[in-house]
């Protein structure tokens, strides 16, 4: 039986169906999880997809982190379950403290919606495990608050422990150290600003998101087998 991946839907989320479709292309069974759910029973991985959870009021992710489902996501992550935040989902994970740092408005207050090239700089995560280090992937970005910031000590720790999993080849938003994606200490929680689900079919210009999603689905299958 294929891995079951829950895709969380907050009011204002808008990438959930694309994400489910892409996860299914990567070999999983995708299922939508409404943000008031308090349990994640039967799921092998959880994805927080892109969009504008709770209207992005206050700050992106600031209200969503208090949605009931987030307590369950925290428990799931603490138990080693694979958790992926894409774009707005990444913002939610940093607001919730599941990933370090924060995402602030892009350099020059510029909204970016463009193809991007990211490089796999660490394979120590559920999103990049088994993907060749140094591989460059064409995956689009679409965000206003995607500039990653953290204090110097956190940055040094992220670098030294292989937790910067993806870097932009050309920095589109002013992120410190060209960071496009980071992982938790254990590598089971990952956030990235680019949208791998929008690069999951050659028809839309790239299927370079699939190796990442397959890695996630593989990690989820490992959870199922365990």
């Amino acid at each position: 039986m294929s891995a079951r991946v829950g895709v969380v839907v907050f009011p204002g989320t808008n990438c959930e169906h694309d994400t489910v479709t892409a996860l299914e292309r990567a070999g999983a069974t995708g299922t939508l999880v409404w943000h008031t759910e308090q349990r994640l029973d039967g799921l092998d991985a959880v994805v927080l997809p892109g969009g504008f959870a709770h209207g992005d009021y206050l700050r992106p992710g600031a209200i969503a982190r208090f949605s009931p489902v987030m307590a369950a996501v925290e428990r799931f992550a603490a138990g080693g379950g694979p958790v992926l935040g894409i774009c707005n989902g990444f913002q939610v994970l940093t607001e919730a403290g599941l990933l370090p740092g924060a995402l602030v408005k892009n350099r020059g207050l510029r909204f970016v919606c463009a193809p991007a090239c990211v490089r796999v700089d660490s394979t120590q995560s559920v999103l990049t495990g088994g993907v060749d280090e140094g591989r460059e992937l064409a995956i689009p970005v679409n965000h206003f608050s995607g500039s990653y910031v953290c204090d110097d000590r956190t940055l040094a720790e992220l670098r030294d422990t292989g937790r910067v999993v993806l870097r932009y080849v050309e920095n589109p938003n002013g992120s410190v150290d060209d960071i496009a994606g980071v992982a938790s200490r254990a590598g089971n929680v990952v956030g990235l600003m680019p949208h791998p689900e929008r690069a999951s079919d050659p028809l839309v210009g790239s299927d370079d998101g699939l190796p990442l999603l397959r890695a996630l689905v593989g990690a989820a299958a490992g959870v199922r087998a365990a």
Binding site: V104, K105, R107, V149
Partner: protein, 90 residues
């Protein structure tokens, strides 16, 4: 007691403030070429019930830290004053 609270949230030193920088760059065109150091932030106002001022300050500070500001990137200042009676204008 009821307190009127104002929380001001602003980006911490060292965090780029493109909004403040953009406003500052626009000012000379309006003749304000004597203005420097513009920063942009937000302010929140609300009423709070508490036993005394220390308790109100504690609650408002907790709210500021947990929700209104993201301590990774922002600082928050809390100002408050007692309201004489319910319904007084803030």
């Amino acid at each position: 007691m009821k307190f009127a609270v104002r929380v001001e949230v602003r980006l911490r030193q060292g965090i780029a403030d493109p909004e403040g920088a953009t406003i500052e760059r626009a000012l000379p065109a309006l003749g304000f070429d004597d203005v420097r150091g513009v920063t942009a932030g937000r302010s929140f106002r609300f009423e709070l019930d508490a036993d005394d001022e220390a308790a109100a300050r504690g609650r408002a500070g907790e709210l500021a830290r947990r929700l209104l500001a993201n301590p990774v990137i922002e600082d928050a200042d809390v100002e408050l004053r007692p309201l004489a009676r319910t319904g007084e204008r803030r």
